[in-house]
Symmetry: C2
Subunit: 361 residues, 2 copies
């Protein structure tokens, strides 16, 4: 079994991690290596569920911080083993997100007495369909393993803090009509024409901008699909507009749906929810978060896409993305990470978790 | 080779015709039988092109009338041979349109000296794609064979005169935009929202009603299809609305297109003509038509669908549908025709073509 050497710095450790392939669903070898390495650390309790590994301190601190990352990568694209060149580490997972995992492991190994209790979460199957997601499984089976006052997901963010995330709701708005031959169109009722007020409403919609914890979120309400029509000579009796609402995390799922129903009130025959994921509040006002921002530096940005930070938010744990990788190179053949950014991330997190003299590195 | 007996009445002759199968593309046996029978009639010149047969008089009359019908049927549905029961003839093609063909053949055989010169057109491949249509082929290769002052297409019309036909134009209206992730919708431009004014214009459109030769035509402008969308989380950069304009035959093809362009002026990125077929003026004001209406009786109705009468109209020959079959039973397993309607149609046409003592039947 491959061994991990947690005495290496985070960049060297990233190379070790990259050289143990762990494409989604094939994380076992790497999960075993991570579990074995963590079990060497007497200050941590280690838990395992499938190919997810959780390790945590139990020091009775006032706050608990969760550091989370996924072990899996997208399929290898001729870019393993890793290769170090001029301060840049190339290879599958260097950015997304074995450099983040390396930082987690380094903090686990080198901060035995952190100023806050720590939970390290290493999970599987993040790069595939949401239903297979290892963090989702843990949240359902062992929510207590994920408990905490604040979570940092070390997904690639180029060393910037990205706070919370938008919610997303997708609904199908159906209009109906009556078929007729288009040569006798007055005998029918055109469902596509019936969708005109829906599109008008969308085109005229003024999306809200709202500031939460100092971050500005911009919402958006958009048709992402429209479909209607029977044949070139038939008045169509059905039309469907698929609408995607991306909303700021100060609205809940139900409020988002109520808003969409209100916007299109009276304009559709039927509304069907196709997909719904709540947003995540940045929670940057919490003491743990404020100290984190101060230690890490920079200006937090809102996260627009939907990420696993929302799973923590759903458990009542405010969460941010903060990782050394560059998201622009995630999933690419030329995926890479900068050694200095990896080391900087390790150093910043250590500083945050050892400040006030609790425990120098 | 099967023989046709033109001394039978039109209903009996219909049965003979039905009993010679002639599904589209397999009309040869029937076309041969029709040609052979017509060549027995010394007052007719007989022409042949593929499986189309044309026969005509050359009496130097002031007007020429064309009687046209197709020889082919839709696929047989266990309804051949024909069956006569209580004055109803059952079988494939009884309505559409071997009863009409039988009437043509009876007039050809029994009116050697008509009051107007006559052209009988029997053509192939009407029941399949327009490009294969035998009348279209004749119009292109031998337009002089179709020349005349007035044409009667003996398609099933339940013995009613249906005058002219609507034109039909189908255009694709394209709107464009710019793709973006729907979480950052302000980075893109939504092409589906861009189609809103097109649908509004359609929903608000007041179609024209116009009287031509005493027939009221109702136009219609309708979306018959709409398509747009890339993925559930992408602002779409393209949307296409397919619009069908059914117009009264006082507009030409170019005028119809100009009208559509004007209606949607400024609302689309691109307009592509998908399909265009001109309408046909009923031409009921022509002397031959007026005499026809008087002889046949009843109130002419406008024809809303597009039919082969428009091919005559395109050649400058006003045309109507008038045939003994019931269009509601065309293409059906229980296709049938009433013997008395077939005989009535034969009698009415003969009366029209022999009135004023030119030539009693």
């Amino acid at each position: 079994m491959p061994q991990l050497d947690l005495s290496l710095d985070a960049a060297q450790l990233t190379a070790q991690l990259v050289d143990i392939p762990s494409v989604s669903r094939e994380e076992k070898v790497l999960a075993d290596a991570v579990e074995t390495a963590l079990r060497e650390l007497p200050h941590l309790e280690v838990l395992r569920d499938g190919n997810a590994v959780v390790a945590r301190t139990a020091l009775g601190r006032a706050e608990r911080v969760v550091l989370a990352g996924h072990l899996d990568t997208v399929p290898i694209a001729d870019n393993v083993p890793s290769r170090l060149e001029d301060g840049i580490l190339w290879g599958c997972g260097t950015s997304d997100m074995k450099s983040g995992v390396a930082v987690q492991l380094r903090i686990a190994a080198t901060v035995p007495e952190p100023n806050r209790d720590l939970t390290f979460v290493f999970y599987d199957q993040e790069e595939i369909e949401a239903d297979a997601n290892g963090l989702k499984r843990l949240a359902e089976k062992h929510p207590e393993w994920l408990a905490g006052d604040f979570a940092v997901v070390l997904e690639p963010s180029s060393g910037e803090i990205e706070g919370g995330c938008q919610g997303t709701l997708r609904v199908l708005l159906h209009t109906t009509g009556e078929r007729a031959h288009s040569a006798r169109s007055w005998m029918g009722r055109n469902a596509i024409h019936g969708a005109a007020p829906i599109l008008e409403r969308l085109a005229a919609y003024e999306p809200r901008r709202v500031e939460i914890d100092g971050l500005e979120y911009r919402e958006g309400l958009n048709a992402v699909r429209i479909e209607g029509g029977v044949a070139g000579n038939v008045i169509p009796d059905a039309c469907t507009v698929t609408v995607n609402f991306r909303y700021a995390p100060d609205r809940g799922e139900d409020e988002a749906l109520a808003h969409v129903r209100e916007v299109f009130d009276g304009l559709y025959e039927d509304l069907v929810v196709d997909d719904s994921s709540p947003g995540a509040l940045p929670g940057l006002g919490r003491p743990a978060a404020a100290a984190f921002i101060e230690a890490v530096g920079g200006t937090p940005q809102p996260k627009y896409g939907w990420t696993d930070v929302a799973r923590f938010s759903a458990l009542g744990v405010p969460a941010v993305n903060y990782g050394p990788g560059d998201p622009n190179y995630a999933h690419k053949r030329d995926e890479h990470a900068h050694v200095d950014k990896i080391l900087h991330c390790e150093e910043r997190l250590r500083a945050w978790l050892t400040l006030n003299g609790s425990n120098p590195a």
